[in-house]
Amino acid sequence: MTMIAEKPLVRIEGLHKYYGQHHVLRGIDLTVKQGEVSVVIGPSGSGKSTMLRCINLLETISAGRISVDGQLIGYREVNGRLHDLKKKEIAAQRREIGMVFQRFNLFPHKTALQNVMEAPTQVKRKGEDFARTQALELLDRVGLAQRANHYPAQLSGGQQQRVAIARALAMEPGLMLFDEPTSALDPELVGDVLNVMKDLAKSGMTMIVVTHEIGFAREVGDTLTFMDGGVVVESGDPREIIANPQHDRTKEFLSRVL
């Protein structure tokens, strides 16, 4: 909150997404500055998860541009014409962006420690010892050092999600995407995951968080974006929007979730 630079890290311009005839995103513009925590809320089907998934190309971009750290995502622009990037180049862009999923998606055949070590050893080709030390540090940071040798099936949902956060952080990304990270959790486990995210925000990480946790948005968010029907309805200071929403749709949504 104090460390936000003026420099935009993520810039989304005129983003559209079609699934066949279905027009899911209808022109999204969003800018996230370095060190900012950008919270995105909205009803189911508003396109907020799709937008997030476009940023690391889990969805193709139908129209518009996304750039992260000045680099165009998914394309190379040559003489005003876009060319698809090769898979290798896409993988390289994804390495700079960490992602946390609603369903955790831990690798079930690997222990918590192996989950966190997987990408550093296999993608960044770090040594085993280095990766293990780093992984134990990260697991400790999310409060799970003692669970390092447990398989995901032996961990609660909240613990799995914290391992998933540690796994994403192991790649030392400059940007973290959270796709409804607490929506699949029992209510009493939500707090632990949000605390880890809060600490991450305090450490200066740039974060885009799609969530239904209005309390988190108010407390941790630097900006709040309300999406509905594939467009951004309202965007600004979270405390102001929550206290005093300008649009009827925002008012209606907030009255239902608060």
Binding site: N56, L58, K87, K88, A91, A92, R94, R95, I97, G98, M99, F101, R103, N105, F107, P108, H109, K110, T111, E118, A119, Q122, V123, T133, L136, E137, L139, D140, R141, V142, G143, L144, A145, Q146, R147, A148, N149, H150, Y151, P152, A153, Q154, S156, G158, Q159, R162, A164, R167, A168, M171, E188, L189, G191, D192, V193, N195, V196, K198, D199, K202
Partner: protein
């Protein structure tokens, strides 16, 4: 988040150490504890049907055993004579070799075919489909005869540019020997079946696994080899074990090539020579059962290996608390001990 029970030893929780013990129930100070409950020593439901069926089945088994022992036509002494006959044991060895070699080739081909089938490249998808269509759609017997006759169809194999100059040539019968034809015929046929088993296995892995690995920047090959395939193996191993046992017995068809050293051919030849078909069928059956049993043991261990983390779900990994604490202390020396560690004590 901090609970009253933990605050006694960790009065000031570090902001970067989220509470993790909240998932375990805290003991209630006021709740009464029953130390000596009276156990419900209930009378179990009786199952007279089980006793009756056991008696019937045991009776039938006894009758069968009695006839096997008393009926002289079984000729057990001949079974005894030939069970370890050189020809029989060699036949068993060849049968085992045919099974293992053709399954090994088939597994490699099947992985390739299954991956090609999901490829973005349409040429790969179609060629994989065509391969499965052809090798699954014609009888294995026909294919074995065909491989045996390859030398008739193409007397020599040469490498060169199509419609252009030849680089070298070899006589087909020197490469496609009977054993090669037998292994090739069995392996190619089997690869089509296994490809479908592998495809089912790959499909069974949740799409989120691929997405998570992609989001970490892993390459397609690494995702397949390290993330998807190991999980798919859990689904793939049981039907593949089934196929292997099936293959063990399908090897008896290599007579079609003709390849004449396998177990069935060897025991048949002995039976024809001695005019004792029944005892030699028993000899063959015993050996097939022995190999099948060994294969089943192997399958058990394979299943245990690929099921780790999933099938062994709640068999908690014994984490030595002291060792883990030491490891964590090494990992995070900046933290004062006691603020974070004891909360995660292994249950």
């Amino acid at each position: 988040m901090t609970q009253a029970g933990t605050s006694t030893w960790a009065p000031e929780r570090q902001p970067h150490s989220p509470a993790s013990d909240t998932e375990e129930p805290a003991p209630h100070a006021g709740a009464p504890v029953l130390n000596n409950p009276v156990l419900n020593n209930a009378v179990p439901v009786r199952h007279p049907g089980r006793w009756i069926s056991a008696v019937v089945i045991l009776g039938l088994v006894a009758l069968m055993l009695q006839s096997m022992v008393t009926n002289p036509n079984f000729r057990w002494e001949i079974v005894g004579t030939y069970i370890l006959d050189v020809k029989v044991v060699q036949g068993m060895g060849w049968t085992l070799l045919l099974t293992v070699a053709s399954m090994a080739i088939a597994v490699v081909l099947a992985i390739l075919l299954a991956v090609m089938r999901q490829s973005d490249n349409p040429i790969f998808r179609w060629s994989s489909w065509l391969w499965v269509w052809f090798f699954r759609g014609t009888p294995v017997y026909t294919q074995l005869v065909f491989w045996g006759l390859l030398a008739v169809l193409y007397p020599k194999i040469s490498a060169g540019v199509p419609f252009g100059p030849e680089l070298f040539d070899l006589s087909t019968s020197s490469i496609i020997t009977p054993i090669a034809a037998a292994i090739l015929g069995l392996a190619l046929n089997e690869s089509a079946y296994l490809a479908e088993i592998f495809r089912a296995g790959l499909k069974s892995v949740d799409k989120g696994q691929t997405e998570a690995a992609e989001a970490l920047g892993m390459s397609d090959a690494k995702i397949m080899w390290r993330i998807i395939l190991p999980q798919a193996m859990r689904i793939i191993v049981p039907p593949t074990g089934n196929e292997t046992i099936g293959m063990l017995k399908t090897t008896s068809l290599v007579l079609a090539v003709p390849f004449t050293l396998d177990l069935t051919f060897a025991t048949n030849a002995l039976a024809n020579r001695t005019y004792q078909p029944i005892p030699l069928l028993i000899v063959a059956a015993i050996w097939y059962l022995v190999i099948t049993s060994l294969l089943m043991v192997g399958q058990h261990y394979l299943e245990a290996y690929y099921g780790k983390g999933v099938d062994s779900g709640q068999a908690a990994v014994a984490v030595n608390p002291a060792a883990a604490r030491a490891a964590a202390a090494v990992a995070a020396p900046q933290q004062s001990p006691g603020t974070d560690l004891p909360k995660e004590e292994a249950k």
